[in-house]
Symmetry: C2
Subunit: 437 residues, 2 copies
């Protein structure tokens, strides 16, 4: 087998068989195949795509390039959840204890990553004392004991993805659907769950702006998951405006705690119930996700969800008093209200602009070496469909105590520009746009 012939084959629109994909991935990870051949191949894949079978074989070959996590020691069906990423997405921090409280074990591996805010790990670490570094054995023990753990990735999972992603990142081949699907699914499947619920975000604040593309990616990932023996469901959800009100690390933890108390933003709660209902259904805890949603409602209203979150915080060495006293979370040094320039109904609230404004405040990482300020961010007051009077608060900026005035002005302008208004009432769009089973 020659790499040249395989590049030619893909360039001419043909599909790879299993052995060809294994040859390419193994050869690249070993260093036998140079970057310049793989980057040409990636561009050919960008243009010619990969069919279902190829994408599954790619994912399998990527998984086989490194370690995998074995969760068999945890009794029951382990359901994982993954979001393709949006602005203000705090669902994992709500879902992990919520679903665990409803009886399904959750062994969640999360990341940090670049973005408008930190990843789930960064958010959780804004809780004083909270530790996310755990060996696999510790993770398994924690889940066996209290039903839930949220940890950073450990071991050499999917080295092929690290190599391929680094190359895609510098060769304009990141946004290829089969490569995205293979990258996400290889990492999830290597993490050892038995079932998986995917939250595929579509809209202005997601990397997929287009809904058809989000459904397309969902189908690919569901096909890979099921093909690899991991029962997978995807919900395509709206990311045209930030999820919930808070965008920032400690601010989002606060919102997650409020949601577990039954006092959170309606959209964040709605999405958590949808995703969690499916998680319970896949875990065999109910016959249908609707029943799972009812069960989760009761888990919140009865206090079990918040109680499980406290257990999780204690289990990972955090101060669980934050759940009673939110002021124990890092507090921003300066709060500045952003007033509406005119009256009307909120027609648009561009999620990406709000995310960038939060990053400018220090809530997210622009590069791998950026430091995150856990306290800063933005709390939205008015969302799409809300009516606003001129001068009324649209949002509150949470900035560092020493934030310069020109930075605050820039952030205020970004927030105001993210809003569009109209005189007539606005019909709200659905949050869950569809599902792929």
């Amino acid at each position: 087998m020659r790499v040249y012939d395989l590049i030619l084959k893909k360039r001419n629109g043909f599909a790879f068989n299993k052995a060809e994909i294994e040859f390419l991935i193994e050869g690249y990870v070993k260093g036998d195949i140079p970057d310049y051949q793989i980057s040409a191949l990636l561009m050919a894949i960008y243009f010619c795509g990969m069919n279902e079978e190829e994408t599954l074989n790619l994912t399998r070959a990527m998984i086989n390039s490194g370690d995998t996590i074995d969760l068999k020691a945890i009794p029951g069906i382990k359901v994982d959840k993954h979001s393709t990423g949006g602005v203000g997405d705090t669902t994992t921090i709500v879902l992990a204890p919520l679903v665990a409280a409803a009886g399904a074990p959750v062994a969640k591996l999360s990341g940090r990553g670049l973005g408008h805010t930190g990843g789930t790990l960064d958010k959780l670490e804004s809780i004083p004392g909270f530790k996310t570094e755990m060996a696999v054995a510790e993770l398994v023990e924690a889940v066996k004991k209290i039903g839930v753990a949220v940890a950073g990735q450990t071991g050499n999972l999917v080295p092929a993805d690290k190599l391929l992603y680094a190359l895609r990142d510098v060769t304009a081949t990141v946004d290829s659907m089969p490569l995205i699907a293979g990258s996400i699914m290889s990492k999830k499947l290597a993490s050892g769950a038995d079932a998986l619920v995917l939250d595929v975000k579509a809209g202005d604040g997601a990397f997929l702006k287009d809904r058809a593309a989000a459904f397309n990616l969902s189908k690919m990932m569901v096909s890979i998951g099921n093909g690899a023996g991991c029962k997978t469901v995807a919900l395509v959800t709206n990311m045209d405006q930030p999820l919930g009100f808070a965008v920032g690390n400690a601010l989002e933890v606060k919102e997650a705690i409020q949601t577990l108390r039954g006092e959170g933003p309606p959209d964040l709660k709605e999405l958590c119930l949808f995703l969690g209902g499916w998680m319970l259904a896949l875990a065999g805890k109910c016959a249908h996700p609707d029943q799972g949603m009812d069960l989760l409602e009761k888990t919140i209203s009865g206090g079990a969800a918040l109680e499980k979150f406290k257990e999780l915080v204690r289990s990972q060495h955090g101060n669980d008093a934050v759940t009673e006293d939110l002021s124990l979370l890092p507090q921003s040094g300066k709060q500045v209200a952003v007033a509406a320039p005119a009256a009307g109904y909120v027609k648009k609230l561009e999620a990406e602009a709000i995310g960038l404004a939060a990053m400018m405040l220090g809530a997210g990482r622009e590069t791998k070496d950026s430091t995150i300020d856990p306290a800063v961010g933005i709390v939205i007051t008015k969302k799409i469909g809300d009516s606003v009077q001129a001068g009324e608060n649209l949002a509150v900026i949470h900035a560092g105590a020493t934030a310069p005035a020109d930075q605050l002005d820039a952030v205020r302008n970004m927030i105001i520009n993210a809003y569009s208004f109209q005189d007539d009432p606005v019909e709200k769009e659905k949050l869950v746009l569809g599902q792929v089973e």
Copy 2:
């Protein structure tokens, strides 16, 4: 300017401006841009193409990456000729002295290259004593003195092409029209001619099998040449069967000498008159190529063409007695006739198969390090449209004295399989399929 953004731009179907192309070519030649980014870009160009202006700017940037040859010291309009390569293509050896004898100076730089036979240099070197290594000053002096020289490339011409070609060769991005056009034209334009006649071959024995593709490439190259101020014309010519009768180095020189004597194969002569007529027209030696063709006919019949060839051979230290005594050329050790398996009219004679058979005998280079046997090759007896009796000679194999029987059998079978016959007479196709000015 960032390479990433330029890859993305091309991938998304946009055109580069001059500064962007210069940035890419200069950066790559300097080693500032890594192979893996350029190979992804090349694949994006394969899929998205380049427009006329981009291709001209690419060619110019490639020329500017190295030395160029200055032929200004030679009086008159210097016309060059280039063939995209076929089987049995001996035109340069006929054309250079023929056109020079008709009054237009020819300073021809030729190559060796890989292929079914050697390049023009290898063929000429089968003449005892003939030297093709010349410095630019020697080349200029020779042309000033006798009107013609044929030499190997000298100096650091178009290093960008060497680098890009090596990368294209291992990333399945060779057959991209704008990249082919840029590669050919940058080398021709760097060689200093004032005008250029291109012989773009289409058919089974050419790298472009498809005629529409050959016209497309011709248009690109003519547009580049004229855009760069070098008056350029392309003839698209038929390469469905070998040109002339001989395929092999000394065998083709013999055929070239016969053509200069007025005794060569009709198709080789026809093509030389067409190409040469255009060369004379572009050199200002006649108003129209048809007049140039008449002039060339007279140059052959009056003996001036052969005389100029003798001068060329003497000028480059060869034994010019070969023109009178063809047996002074290297002679093959063994000749084997190939008999027709049945009677009929020759319908097809696959040029590529004949070329591969000649290469198997040792007439061409399979790899850079292969040695060429100047004496071996194949002389075709029957071409498309000819009638054949069963047992009559189709071709004669010229092999080395020690060629093993199984090799000769294999070559014989390849030749027989290259032929197709039919009962009814065959209408011959035109040799010159069209021209692009």
